[in-house]
């Protein structure tokens, strides 16, 4: 299954703006906020979810969030989500509005994981205790991260917390060996100050897709921090397209999500599929213009899902099917849906709302690879 990667602050800003736009589009944003405010207090607000194996899952959230603080905590399951246990508290809380704080979670296996963006914390005991990790090379913040069997890859910026793009100095990609929190080595993947990176992994092969804004991107195939291959990634309708995300689910099998002709909350979406590590692609058009394509996840059996911002939709295509489906459970709420992740070939999860801004963020699950979704009970720490 795909391990979800982190978000950049830039992307967050886009998402927040997009969520607002969606609320305006649906005209229901205020109603929803009122409904949430009137609901029962929720002791744990989910923020980020990962499944390093089909039985081992980790959920980052805010515990007893108040107006000024939102302590971060990780819950763990080792029975596929039937029961959850609380881990230790993190050094940093979740981001409150306008303040820096943790937003994302990654685990390489059932013991070793990271909470990050913009800070960096690590656990080596399945989340029971956390270590605040200095950023490599004097970087100021983590923009995205991948925890994989090939080690940990991070994209960092030297711009201070709270700053977006502060100068024209390039961003840096670093790698630490599997299970290690020190010994970072710079990876030869050039990323301009205004660019960013989406990561994906299959086994010990890591893909770093550098996005430069509109136009082609560059895909780097990495192993042990070394560039094994690179290729230009060109979306369909390149002149009006941008790359959204990358995923991988087999030897040399890479998927890239593109959006084109975007505007007014709509985009033309294309999933590119390569069987040769990104050297050549076929282009599968996705029917449906609503939503700006954001995240792409692919199950080992070939099932594909993508989430959108500006319209909270999940597009999915089942394994062994050429037809796409659309789930719109979240459309009227206008909340940002994120952290779309497969647990198994058919079971997947996502989170509706950002815990830092909405203590009633919600957990959703599907058991038919995205065709239907059900609200899941938020685990109690």
């Amino acid at each position: 299954m795909r391990l979800h990667s982190g978000r950049s602050l830039i992307a967050m800003a886009v998402v927040m703006g997009a969520a607002l736009a969606a609320a305006v589009l649906t005209g229901s944003g205020h109603q929803l906020a009122a409904a949430h405010a009137a609901g029962p207090d929720q002791p744990f607000s989910p923020q980020s979810l990962v499944w390093p194996t089909s039985t081992d899952g980790y959920l980052l959230g805010g515990a007893d969030c108040g107006l000024t603080s939102c302590p971060a905590e990780v819950l763990a399951t080792h029975d596929g989500g039937k029961t959850w246990t609380a881990g230790g508290r993190m050094h940093h809380g979740l981001a409150k509005s306008g303040e820096p704080g943790l937003t994302s979670l990654q685990f390489a296996d059932r013991r070793f994981g990271w909470a990050y963006d913009p800070f960096l914390e690590a656990t080596q005991n399945g989340g029971r205790s956390w270590t605040d990790v200095p950023l490599p090379g004097g970087s100021a913040k983590v923009l995205s991260l991948l925890a994989s069997a090939d080690g940990t890859y991070v994209l960092t910026s030297r711009c201070a917390l709270g700053d977006g793009v502060c100068d024209d100095r390039p961003l840096d990609v670093w790698r630490a060996a599997p299970g290690k929190v020190t010994g970072w080595q710079r990876v030869d993947v050039p990323v301009p100050a205004t660019g960013d990176v989406r990561f994906a992994a299959n086994g010990s092969t890591v893909y770093a897709l550098v996005r430069y804004g509109p136009g082609p991107g560059r895909l780097f195939t990495l192993h042990r921090g070394q560039v094994r291959a690179s290729s230009t990634i060109t979306c369909a309708d390149q002149e009006v397209a941008g790359i959204a995300d990358v995923a991988a689910n087999g030897d040399h099998r890479v998927f890239v999500l593109c959006r084109s002709f975007y505007g007014q909350g709509q985009s033309t979406k294309t999933v590119m599929v390569s069987g040769d590590g990104g050297q050549t692609f076929r282009y599968d058009a996705v029917p449906g213009r609503l939503g700006l394509a954001d995240r792409l996840v692919v199950a080992p059996d070939g099932a594909v899902m993508m989430s959108n911002f500006t319209a909270s939709l999940v597009y999915s295509r089942a394994a062994l099917s050429k037809s796409w489906r659309i789930a719109d459970n979240w459309l009227e709420n206008g909340e940002h849906i994120h952290d779309l992740a497969f647990q198994s070939d058919t079971t997947a999860w996502l989170i509706e709302g950002d815990a830092a801004y909405n203590p009633d963020s919600r957990l959703w699950t599907t058991h038919d690879a995205g065709a239907t979704w059900q609200l899941a009970t938020v685990p109690t720490p």
Binding site: E239, G250, G275, D276, Y283, G302, L320, K322
Partner: protein, 640 residues
């Protein structure tokens, strides 16, 4: 010269934003057009000159009745072209940007609609290449440029139905397009259509020298769609190209039966023209007074381009069926194809000069303008040369024929060739020159491990890698006269060559004809390797098919063997989705959704009754609009 009366009242055109198609319009509505390509052209980039009528929208293939817009018979009649009898052994090259993934299938619909002979990869007529001259990898698809590509393919088909067509797709509308032009020259092209252009920037003489080689090649280049005021466009202003302007073409009761005026339908839209700021005046334009233009002047000649009197085009990428197009992107391929009907250009000649020696064989367009200018001939029609329409439009092909007698070179090679990795290959290409001159051979995109002997034309070696190649063989005699031919060359693996070509689908789509999106190379559902065929998988009524012609062994008890995996979420008797296997029209087996399973299952079909015959094997999936059923094929072979 023939004077033309202006009979048509140009219909106003209005540029509409975006690509959304309007529904079929009332005839009294104002025609509207949209440019197929992004018209924001920075220095060093190019745009296409295709304009689509949005007020007419797209018409489904299934709708009864003839498509709107002029078809092949209209164009052939309007320009008195010998399309029925000329063009054999000629090949027209079209250079565009990005990939049109449905180019070949859309072209098939157009040609079938008008009764033109088929032009496919399989029969060696159609060839699609990247800018390096190889059949893969192709550039990313583009909805906008796909409209341009459809227009180009349909126009050369309409005018020269017997010509081969090579579509070269550049990676982007930048200097990549000039690289593609250079590749066309390297492949031995004689006729190249360039329906695009950009600002005159950089050293044009250097560009000409670098990309437009050799001489003696017809390059037809559109002058643009935005009137005289838009300025001149390169490569139309290149001395290497024939600059093609645009007209409004209407049927009338004149002797000719048609009349033409300058295309200028609406302010801002009309054929381009002008005097180059950089390009030196070529000798053959001495007919144009220096006081009018002391440099290269455009256009040289013209053809229909007005979307109000536009042409029928079939397009499904970025479109949804039949549309009506115009723009000088229509006139450039029309004239390129007319040149092909006229015969071989003379080596080292300037084909743009031919019409200047045969103005009696052109319809002189004498009415209309494309703006206001001084000197007025640059933007106003007049007897003789004028900027908007050049010397006029073709009457037959004599004005486009080389005045010099040239040798005729003929190349003979199979349209299809199949080999196996590691096994020896020896193929003799034969070429003759009418001047009895010796010829030299060149080949592009040969499978790795093979080489061609430049003097004997023998291709030999052992291919090293499975794949499908579009090989161009060029033969050139000592006078520079040349000809080429295309071989679709499939190199199969050992596993995939058991009585069929590419039976394991590890060589791309070579050897197979697919109707629908069938052959995959991502390994996701392959029995082995990366390649497999996927029929079905739609939760709507749909049909896919896969075909190969094979020769059944004449001895023993030959059997067709293949791996089949069926998958459906509905395996009840209510699911009527099926896969039928047909051999030469005989239904020999049927597979159903009830055979769903988690893995491939070996199948075996007795072919004894077909021993010694060449037969067509066809698998066809048929799905209704309920649950999808997938049929996966792999490891196809015919055993003794």
């Amino acid at each position: 010269m023939i004077s033309l009366r202006r009979l048509a009242i140009p219909l106003a055109l209005l540029l509409v934003a975006g690509g959304a198609a309007a529904s079929t319009a009332d005839a009294s509505e104002t025609p509207k057009v949209v440019a197929s390509c992004d018209q924001t052209v920075a220095p060093g980039t190019f745009t296409c000159f295709a304009l689509r009528r949005t007020d007419l929208g797209f018409k489904s293939r299934s709708l009864a009745g003839a498509p709107d817009g002029y078809g092949p018979a209209d164009l052939q009649a309007a320009y008195q072209l010998p399309s029925e009898r000329a063009g054999q052994d000629r090949r027209i090259y079209i250079v565009d940007a990005f990939d049109d993934p449905t180019a070949e299938s859309d072209l098939a619909v157009y040609r079938q609609q008008y009764g033109l002979p088929a032009c496919t990869t399989e029969d060696g007529c159609f060839q699609k290449l990247n800018q390096d001259g190889a059949s893969s990898p192709l550039p990313a698809p583009s909805q906008g440029w796909s409209g341009e590509i459809s227009l180009d393919l349909d126009m050369v088909s309409a005018v020269c139905p017997r010509c081969g067509i090579t579509l070269i797709e550049a990676d982007s509308p930048t200097d990549d397009m000039l690289e593609a032009v250079k590749t066309a020259g390297r492949l031995g092209a004689e006729y190249v259509s360039l329906s695009w252009g950009g600002p005159e920037t950089g050293n044009l003489a250097d560009l000409d020298h670098t990309y437009f080689q050799p001489r003696g090649v017809v390059y037809t280049a559109s002058t643009g769609d935005y009137d005289y005021d838009a300025g001149t466009s390169y490569p139309a202003t290149s001395a290497a190209t024939t600059a093609i302007g645009g007209t409004s073409l209407v049927k009338d009761d004149s002797t000719r039966g048609w009349s033409e005026t300058v295309w200028n339908s609406f302010p801002g839209f009309g054929t381009g023209s002008g005097c180059s700021a950089q390009a030196v005046k070529p000798d053959w334009q001495s007919v144009i007074p220096a006081a009018v233009c002391s440099n290269r002047a455009v256009a040289d000649i013209s053809a229909v381009a007005d979307p109000s009197t536009g042409v029928a085009v079939y397009q499904t990428t970025g479109g949804a069926g039949w549309a009506v197009y115009g723009g000088t992107s229509a006139s450039a391929p029309i004239v390129a194809a007319a040149y092909a009907l006229a015969g071989d250009p003379a080596p080292k000649s300037h084909p743009a000069s031919y019409p200047y020696d045969r103005t009696d064989d052109l319809n002189d367009v004498v009415e209309g303008d494309n703006g206001s200018c001084s000197p007025t001939p640059l933007c106003t029609a007049q007897p003789g040369w004028d900027g908007p329409t050049g010397l006029g439009t073709p009457i037959g092909t004599r004005a486009l024929a080389s005045p010099a007698k040239t040798n005729q070179v003929t190349v003979t090679a199979p349209a299809q060739e199949s080999s196996v990795v590691g096994e020896p290959v020896r193929l003799t290409i034969r070429a003759t020159s009418s001047g009895q001159d010796p010829v030299r051979y060149e080949a592009t995109d040969l499978p790795a491990g093979l080489r061609i002997d430049a003097t004997t034309g023998i291709v030999d070696g052992r291919p090293t890698t499975p794949g499908t190649h579009s090989v161009t063989i060029t033969a050139t005699d000592s006078t520079g006269a040349s000809a080429n031919t295309v071989i679709n060359w499939v190199v199969s693996t050992h596993q995939g060559s058991r009585g069929v070509v590419n039976g394991d689908f590890e060589s791309g789509s070579g050897g197979w004809t697919q109707d629908g999106d069938v052959i995959r190379d991502d390994g996701q559902y392959a029995a082995d390797g990366l390649g497999y065929a996927w029929l079905g998988g739609h939760d709507a009524a749909h049909t896919d098919s896969l075909t190969q012609q094979v020769t059944v062994p004449s001895e023993g008890r030959p059997r067709l063997r293949f791996g089949l995996r069926v998958h459906s979420d509905d395996t009840s008797a209510a699911n009527h989705d099926v896969l039928r296997l047909v051999v030469d029209g005989d239904g020999v087996d049927t597979f159903t959704a009830q055979q769903s399973g988690p893995r491939y299952v070996g199948q075996s079909v007795d072919l004894t009754r077909y021993r010694g015959r060449t037969v067509r094997l066809t698998w066809t999936s048929t799905e209704d609009d309920s649950t999808a059923t997938t049929f996966l094929l792999d490891e196809v072979g015919v055993s003794r």
